[in-house]
């Protein structure tokens, strides 16, 4: 029993990272219909920037993260304005190609500015809490709490604020939203700013829990899309449930079946869910 609980705890921390990545992807996809493949690379940019500020320039970690989040929001706005907006009314394949090109550009920029070496964001959080044989490292606890806080903030923003209502309105029916006086030029900018900030948060988590290196972002965005499909395209609760399910499944599969097939088993579960519920766990039929 202790082992199962420990594996679930292991999985929740990873699942939290998947949730943040998937949330960023799902709001962009749900509202703008764009498969934003560069999200993983942008997320890694956030992790690199935090490392650069905190580890190389001695800026306190909390301030470094804040600067990275704000920079991420600005970057998100620029991506929407310069990369996606010009092809918004064109065929979907154009946005798809822009997304792929953007991925390569951001990866290249990361490589150019931050180098090819793996980096780990130093946090100093090394304490370990133990309850009944189940251990919870301090850093993982912070990751879980931070992910939960961001999910709650995102939910409140989308559900309770005027801007959030406007975002939902554009997602439901863009033409009706225009008729209701919503500034539909502004909504994509807000969506990309939020999406990229969530990605940056995920990048910081990956960089402190594990490591950031060229190629890590691509793997992360694949997992993010898997969560999207698992939870239901465009569904915020789906991204939360899907991310946790994927993280815990991976941990349980590695612990009880085989670590060699960790990724395979997680994707087998995803396929099984799709066979039984093609719309995903929380998607609308």
């Amino acid at each position: 029993m202790t082992e199962i609980l420990q594996q679930i705890i292991n999985g929740i921390a990873i699942g939290g990272v998947y949730v943040l990545i998937a949330l960023g992807l799902t709001i962009v996809f749900g509202i703008l219909g764009i498969a934003h493949f560069a999200h993983g690379s942008v997320s890694m940019f956030g992790g690199y920037l935090t490392f650069f500020l905190a580890a190389q320039h001695g800026i306190p970690l909390a301030l470094a993260i804040t600067i990275a989040l704000i920079t991420g929001m600005v970057l998100g706005v620029l991506i929407e304005l310069l990369a996606y907006r010009p092809v918004r009314h064109a065929n979907h394949i154009n946005a798809f190609i822009v997304a792929l090109g953007l991925t390569m550009m951001v990866e290249g920029a990361n490589l150019q500015f931050f180098g090819a070496e793996q980096i780990v964001i130093p946090t100093g959080a090394t304490r370990v809490f133990s309850i009944g044989g189940v251990t919870l490292p301090e850093l993982r606890l912070y990751v879980i709490l931070a992910a939960a806080a961001l999910i709650a903030a995102m939910t409140i923003f989308v559900e309770k604020t005027k801007t959030g209502q406007a975002i939902r309105a554009v997602a439901e029916n863009r033409d009706a939203a225009i008729l209701m006086g919503i500034n539909v030029q502004m909504i994509p900018l807000v969506v990309f700013a939020i999406s990229t900030a969530l990605g940056v948060a995920a990048g910081v988590m990956v960089g402190s829990l594990f490591a950031i290196a060229p190629g890590v972002g691509e793997g992360l965005v694949v997992k993010g899309f898997a969560v999207l499909i698992l939870g239901g395209l465009g569904s915020i609760p789906g991204a939360v449930v899907g991310g946790i399910v994927l993280g815990v499944t991976e941990a349980l599969a590695a612990g009880f079946i085989s670590s060699a097939y960790k990724d395979v088993i997680a994707f087998v579960v995803m396929i099984a869910v799709l066979l039984l519920r093609p719309q995903g766990l929380m998607g609308r039929a």
């Binding site: 070496e117 490591a211 590695a254 670590s259």
Partner: protein, 402 residues
């Protein structure tokens, strides 16, 4: 008359000039190694150390062949430890750059790919850190390797862990990489002779950074000790996460990582007490004057301490210099390859090689160092003791596999 003198002087000057050009040539040597990606922790220091050795050789007067002196010019390509990239890099070196001597090679997958065709080339391949046994069992006369195979070290490690009184050991490692698997296989065989048993073989891939699920499984099996085999970075995460899971058991490993490399991932408290059972390589407490000078020069030039395994490549460059001088030719690669196999251990060597029949490389082109047990104590790798190893016997065994 004056015009004739001027002409004579000009011709003399031209001849002198040509003479001095003929006396000092450039010899291009190639390096194919992992400069980026997960294996760069091994490959980049190797590439650096070849460049450093080449500069030192040049500063000491270059390579003397008859009346001519050759200055080394190093061409470095990134093979990313990937067989396809390595093949492209070596083909470029041979076909486009006209290189006949190729050094580096930190990693077995990429090295194995090159070894599969190097026998057909007019070139000599000097392998460094790549530890897969089969690289020197193919009867390739134009290939030598400075690092001993992984199973040579694994057997010594198995005997050492058994001597610590452990009976049940769990293994976590890159077991899908054949040279790590061969280390564990030799470890297990030797460990079993003392009644020990390996109770788990958990796997991680070189890109994995979360080993918590595997470690949780191992923790539930209550082993006496943990053995971690793999590249530095995943191994460092395994050590860090084992403490995060509250695993208070002796931890052994086979990684060859430097202190700096481990400290990028784990704290010194998380590393405290970890053993690394590996070839002695570069260890400041037990190294020679050549090793100390190497460490100092490398640190001065690159700003980082050299990784323990990086001198394998440094020694390649010096071995090549001595072999070319012994062969008396830079063009006759067969003669240079033969001279390498006849080479005695030279004073510039940083690694502490164990000769076989008085030579640095045995008939298979394989060199041997001592194996050692190192322990992390207060932020440093401390050399604790040498592990009993028999290069002569292993060399015979290796020859029997040809």
């Amino acid at each position: 008359m004056m015009g004739k003198s001027l002409l004579t002087c000009s011709v003399a000057a031209l001849l002198l000039g040509t003479g001095s050009l003929a006396a000092q040539e450039t010899l291009k040597i190639g390096v194919a190694d992992a400069l980026t990606g997960g294996a760069a922790v091994y490959g980049l220091p190797q590439a650096n150390s070849v460049e450093m050795a080449a500069d030192e050789i040049n500063a000491a007067g270059g390579i003397s062949v008859g009346d001519e002196t050759y200055m080394l010019d190093v061409i470095v390509y990134d093979d990313k430890a990937n067989p396809t990239e390595a093949t492209n890099a070596v083909r470029k070196l041979i076909d486009r750059d006209g290189v006949k001597y190729i050094l580096g090679f930190c990693c077995s997958g990429a090295t194995g790919a090159i070894a599969s065709f190097i026998g057909y080339e007019d070139a000599v391949m000097l392998v460094g850190n790549a530890a897969e046994r089969s690289i020197t069992t193919q009867g390739l006369t134009n290939l030598v390797r400075t690092r001993p195979p992984a199973d040579y070290t694994g057997a010594a490690a198995g005997a050492f862990v058994a001597r610590q009184g452990h009976k049940r050991v769990a293994v976590l490692g890159a077991l899908e990489t054949s040279f790590y698997a061969s280390y564990v296989e030799a470890f297990e065989e030797e460990f079993a002779k003392s009644g020990g048993e390996v109770i788990a073989h958990e796997v991680f891939a070189s890109k994995d950074r979360d080993m918590s699920p595997q470690l949780t499984k191992i923790r539930a099996m209550d082993p006496d000790a943990l053995l971690v085999v793999g590249y530095v970075e995943p191994a460092a995460f395994a050590y860090r996460q084992s403490t995060e899971l509250g695993m208070d058991i002796p931890r052994y490993g086979f990684t060859s990582g430097s202190e700096e490399q481990f400290l990028r991932v784990a704290t010194t408290e998380q590393m405290e007490g970890v053993w690394d059972l590996r070839p002695t390589e570069l260890t400041l407490q037990s190294t020679t004057d050549a090793g100390l000078a190497y460490h100092e020069h490398y640190l001065e030039r690159f700003g980082d301490a050299p990784s323990p395994s990086s001198p394998y490549a440094y020694d390649q460059a010096w071995a090549l210099k001595h072999a070319i001088e012994a062969a008396g030719s830079v063009d006759d690669t067969e003669a240079v390859a033969a001279a390498l196999r006849d080479l005695k251990i030279f004073p510039e060597a940083v690694m502490q090689y164990r000769p076989v029949n008085g030579k640095m490389f045995d008939d298979n082109g394989q060199a041997y160092t001592a194996n050692g047990a190192f322990q992390w104590q207060d932020g440093h790798w401390v050399f604790v003791e040498e592990l009993p190893s028999d290069p002569e016997a292993y060399s015979e065994f290796l020859s029997s596999l040809n």
